[in-house]
Symmetry: C2
Subunit: 397 residues, 2 copies
């Protein structure tokens, strides 16, 4: 976790009492005038009220303030939820002297409980008074739910003779599945970038970061990822040399990838970090289907928790997801560098101890070669442990 | 569990030592000459060696013997697996004086370990010597893996003035998902029925039984369901009156449904039996997709384990599976008779205690009304408990 402030962004966090115990649960990011932004939201058809409002506001204007609460998702509440979100935006607009439609609201937490608008409104003066460019760490703590640690990452690159900054924070822990996996992620840079370009950069960054992680395949109702460009460095994208553009984009990618992986590492009850690579698929869709089947299989995930190289479960997951017409006699499976399956059956020289050594590692890769074509995909996931059940069985108690 | 012998079927079970401890692990069903049969097998593209051989034999001839072992799935072993299965069939053919291609082999257990052919061959004489029409209970015990109890069910109906029998057994416990959910199920009747008709009856019976249950969405490599008609009652299907045909078919349906539900009740670590009903879907595919999303959601399943009416997770599962273009404002969710969600949002009069009372029950129904059309589906599933993780993390140790 290394990060630096991003000129043009000031943050503050507060404890609004949305959780039973004392903890930070409310954060704001104030953005310099002229900040450009791009956003990607959950594909869940039951999106939460703040997602609807944020989408609407993002289309209407460039945002000046992000308002984020944990402890309540404000989802599944119909018109009431929308009204509550709008009341929060109005209170923030007054305190921070911006228009309500210049505010992007985000909520995360339990679905189906009403947002306590009064508690949020009450914190506005203090939040405004304590804004600081240094406030990233507290803000990243305030947006967490069942996460056990905050996720904050930054990069610095040179551009047009100046230092450019890319810093982001995220929260994850549960309901993690591609499209959108992230739950919430906010990444800011002080380079000046047009919204249209920013959207393209975000799309590319997501593919190998927040779109490539999955914990249990449950897509949240509240996911959102926002990329912000304040322009406060005084440097425009057009001022940069090609290699500098590349370095800046790489910084955005790395921040997103690091945050995405941090979400998987801190997934509910996770004890292992597993990379799933599917290679030589006939189509990208087949690669994705097979990778997700392996990543979501409770049998593969419990074997991973136990450190048991039960490769038959991987093979079974491939067999049920690969599609009716595919031949299986070219399939290979590797655990890190150990060839377990080749030509669709167990490799002749494979010994159980070899697989066991790999799966005892905290991090390992399951690689499936389908031998059918040239498509490939990489996903990151976690194991299924007692603690996953414990955390999710006791979430609301 | 009520059952009676089926004339034309004799069974035997033995302990071949395929497990470390002493237990029954090998069973045969000997079938009277002229027995007709219908079979449905796993759709997993990595099907096990015995499934390949059983499919082949079923096409070649009417079966005279079913040979079933637990403790080893004989899957993922390529040519070696096929050879081992054929050797077992040859040994059984000799002992029971039938042709090898009149034998249907079945295996269930760990994937990727070689079948100990010698241990199976050694039991043939004793199995042959102990054949009995009364042997159903022992046979139903011999085919279990992580099941905690045997699954055996029978019905008796009148036909053409005689008593007709339908008796079946099944094993389940893990890797349970529709198409084929069953792992293994064998149902026999002493009515004489043509194989072609038998196939139709089996197909109809499966729809609301073994195709309608799911534990964790992992389709096994070894699933098979076989329906056998020995004709030993001397009564042919054509001899029956319409109402008698209906009663016999109903008996087959009930045996299959009871066995299927017994598999879910005895699913690994299951503490609750959950019926998922999706109604008013636009298409059967949408109904199926939504029902499976709810049934497979680890978040819904852990909430069920905890008895927590966390309906937001049900709503989220519906929202991610219903399809991009569907409106959500007609969605209703009921827990048994308690209306939780109506018009896409929490019902006005709903109180948490009401949902909590339902989900504290050992058995309850989650009903989702989509308000989009007229398709519907019903699935049976279980919760996700500590014991599910424990059983699957320690399966091979």
């Amino acid at each position: 976790m290394s990060w630096q402030p991003v000129p043009g962004v000031r943050l503050a966090a507060a404890s609004a009492g949305l959780y039973a115990g004392e903890r930070l649960d409310l954060a704001v990011l104030e953005l310099a005038p002229g900040t450009e932004s791009a956003g990607v939201f959950t594909t869940n058809r039951f999106c939460a009220a703040p997602v609807e409002v944020a989408r609407e506001h993002l289309e209407a204007a460039s945002p000046r303030l992000l308002l984020i609460n944990a402890g309540c998702a404000n989802a599944g509440l119909g018109e009431q939820g929308l009204e509550d979100t709008r009341l929060c935006c109005e209170a923030a607009a007054q305190a921070f002297s911006v228009e309500p439609h210049e505010i992007l609201p985000f909520s995360t937490g339990v679905i189906g409980q009403r947002l306590d608008v009064g508690k949020i409104q009450a914190q506005m003066p203090q939040l405004q008074a304590t804004l600081s460019a240094e406030g990233w760490l507290e803000a990243s703590q305030a947006i967490l739910t069942t996460d056990t640690r905050s996720k904050l990452e930054g990069r610095q690159v040179k551009g047009a003779g100046k230092n450019l900054h890319v810093t982001g924070m995220a929260k994850g822990a549960g309901m993690i599945c591609p499209d959108m996996a992230t739950m919430l992620a906010f990444v800011a840079t002080d380079l000046a970038v047009d919204a249209a370009v920013l959207e393209q950069v975000l799309e590319r960054a997501l593919e190998h970061s927040f779109h490539a992680i999955t914990v249990e395949g449950d897509t949240s109702t509240n996911d959102a990822c926002i990329l912000l460009a304040t322009g406060a460095s005084g440097v425009k994208l057009a001022d940069l040399e090609d290699s500098e553009v590349e370095a800046w984009e790489q910084a955005v990618f790395e921040v997103c990838e690091t945050l995405a992986k941090a979400i998987v590492r801190d997934a509910e009850g996770a004890t292992r970090f597993i990379t799933i690579e599917v290679e030589q698929a006939a189509t990208p869709e087949q690669a994705q289907a097979v990778a997700r089947a392996v990543a979501h299989s409770p049998l593969v995930k419990t074997a991973a928790f136990a450190g048991d190289p039960n490769w038959g479960r991987i093979l079974a997951a491939v067999g049920r997801s690969v599609g009716e017409l595919s031949r299986m006699d070219q399939v290979g499976i590797r655990l890190d560098d150990v060839q377990v399956v080749t030509g669709g059956a167990v490799a002749e020289n494979y010994r159980e101890e070899q697989g066991g050594m790999v799966m005892a590692r905290d991090e390992f890769t399951i690689r499936v070669d389908l031998g059918l074509g040239e498509s490939q995909v990489r996903l990151y996931t976690s194991d299924l442990s007692y603690d996953y059940v414990k955390i999710n069985a006791e979430y609301r108690t």
